[in-house]
Symmetry: C2
Subunit: 345 residues, 2 copies
DNA sequence: CTGAAAGCGCTAACAC
DNA sequence: GTGTTAGCGCTTTCAG
């Protein structure tokens, strides 16, 4: 089983009494002009020697690596976050179908300072880059503006930088969530938000508030709290929110994680969800199914986002496309964390 | 910003009036014999042209790729599973420190049939391979036995194949869980297991039962159920278990996922956790903190497993080590899903 | 101290 | 139909 000395195309040529060219042609199916006798001989030799072309040599020659990199922020256990995980799974599937391999890149501070993200292309590590979890503070992404590198922002967009992106319609998400709560009769509504530097987070919040406002519902300043994009943050925010404003009957959270945290925080404060307080999340990730109660949330089609993003980055690389800005529709997933407000019951 | 024509070492040589050799020597710090004047000139040229060496060419020449691949099973949304995620995060950290890049490989059925996993090495895609979520049915891993490829089984071991591995002590885990339940006074204990083809799952279960037995507690056949390694499976198993044996006071689950599912199933059946039934999990992943009640579970040091596995695979690749079989100790994490049995309260 | 030249393994013009 | 040859971009003997 051991393979000390790898077999090269040269060995195949020798074994089959053919030239390098012939072997190469046969292997790459450009063998219209090769006699079937020779082809057979070559194929037999390939089989006998167990030859497989060295990819490094192929890539060097072809001037492309066949790799796509996924860039994620430097967070503790990023890959354990189902949000990134779902996106990565979807991207992997699409990349695999297209014959590409996936490279994992974490935006370690050092790497960014040394512009390693640009080197990824310069050094021919990758043909394309998919950026997950980007924020408005990621100035380094500016290095890609105007470059001819195939880069795409996945499920976000950066207003300050004109970069390609594929994302969900978070404005629509805000509207749907607001309308759901309005329909249920809620008037005293609070909001737990994620980081303001995430553009889609702002989009979501703005459109949510705007839709509320258009139905005559105002959200005072003290009805909003930062959930830090974590369960713990969501729990703390919910507890504090209800302590300050006991008449709140519904909470919208910027993502499922914070919503699940909020439910925990509420229960902890002796309140029942949804009887006392309704909670709505956003993302519709797996955990929202197993929260107690199961979470009513906005479904964002992350699978499709991942697929499209991957397809798009390849189109960019191949020069088939110049710019990409796709926005995918979202929908409301009704589960059991919402009901009418306690007053009118 | 656009870089149509990448700059090569040749350009640097020309710009600095030096030879290829000289430039290469300077860049690789093998410049003991280069005059500092020349060095300066070269460095200046490098800077001016923004030269970065092409990694494909370097790798081709060095006969190593600088990549490590992570092989995961083909499950729906694998990467969204926090178990794999934590492992991947840990591996990424270690790989990054060692200057290696990570490749994602999913064991798609087709790829396995075509022996793509072996090609990973033959084609020089990677220098080493880390296998996550392997099972006793993964015959293809046999292709690596006796080969000189750097392969390591992460957090598992395959008795049928002598392969390198780094894992947690699941036998100890079984003992700790059993002792915890025994100490609390439980006598009527059930077990929700994952797939039997996962060796560590069998280890865990066997040692759990053995420890119980040594304290005179028998677990009848009908006190065990398959949780399919999923939340839904855990929920169904728990419900069925208590329907058949209403006097069960504690349940051990093969992992956190099934434990969390079990809690949901129990609640759904109108039982309270831990008052009516105690539940113990295994893994201590993030979600166990936010379950309701927070889960008492066996802490498996996945971070360390990932780190060690990565270090080990590199040691194997560099020939510094021949065989690796590490087993890391686990511990009990006490939270609120367990208490004494209802009878003796 | 520096450079010419060979070679890593492959592909593709361009002969023959 | 098939083979020769020149690279892809880099490192590394080996001369000078």
């Amino acid at each position: 089983m051991a393979k000390r000395k790898p077999v090269s195309i040269r060995d195949v040529a020798r074994e089959s009494n053919a030239s390098l060219t012939t072997v190469s042609l046969v292997l790459n199916k450009r063998d219209g002009r090769i006699s079937s006798a020779t082809r057979e001989r070559v194929l037999k030799a390939v089989d006998k020697l167990g030859y497989v072309p060295n990819r490094l040599a192929q890539s060097l020659q072809a001037q492309k690596s066949g790799f796509l990199a996924i860039l994620v922020p430097e967070l503790r256990h990023v890959f354990a976050d189902p949000y990134f995980g779902e996106l990565i799974s979807a991207i992997e599937e699409a990349a695999n179908e297209a014959g590409y391999k996936l490279l994992l890149e974490v935006a370690h501070k050092q790497d960014i300072e040394q512009k390693r993200h640009v080197e990824l292309f310069q050094r021919r590590f990758v043909d394309g880059l998919l950026c997950l979890g980007s924020t408005n503070r990621d100035d380094f992404l500016g290095d890609f503006v105007g470059s001819d590198n195939a880069v795409i922002i996945v499920n976000n967009h950066l207003p300050a930088l004109s970069l390609n992106s594929v994302m969900c319609d978070y404005r629509q998400a805000g509207v749907l969530a607001a309308e759901h709560l309005i329909d249920l009769g809620h008037k005293d509504i609070a909001y737990i938000h994620g980081a303001a530097e995430v553009q889609t987070a702002s989009d979501l919040r703005e459109s949510f508030e705007a839709r509320l406002a258009s139905s005559g519902i105002k959200m005072p300043k003290n009805h909003a709290a930062d959930g830090l994009y974590t369960e713990a943050g969501g729990a703390a925010a919910a507890a504090q929110l209800l302590k300050t404003n006991p008449n709140i009957t519904a909470i919208m959270a910027g993502n499922d994680k914070m919503a699940i945290g909020a439910i925990a925080g509420l229960k902890n404060a002796g309140l029942s969800v949804p009887k006392d307080v309704s909670v709505v999340g956003c993302d519709d990730l797996q955990p929202s199914l197993y929260s107690d109660p199961p979470l009513t949330t906005i479904h964002t089609p992350l699978d499709e986002v991942g697929h499209r993003a991957c397809t798009a980055v390849l189109a960019l690389f191949e020069g088939k496309q110049e710019h990409v800005t796709e926005t995918l529709p979202v929908s409301l997933t009704l589960r059991n964390s919402t009901c009418g407000p306690r007053k009118i019951r």
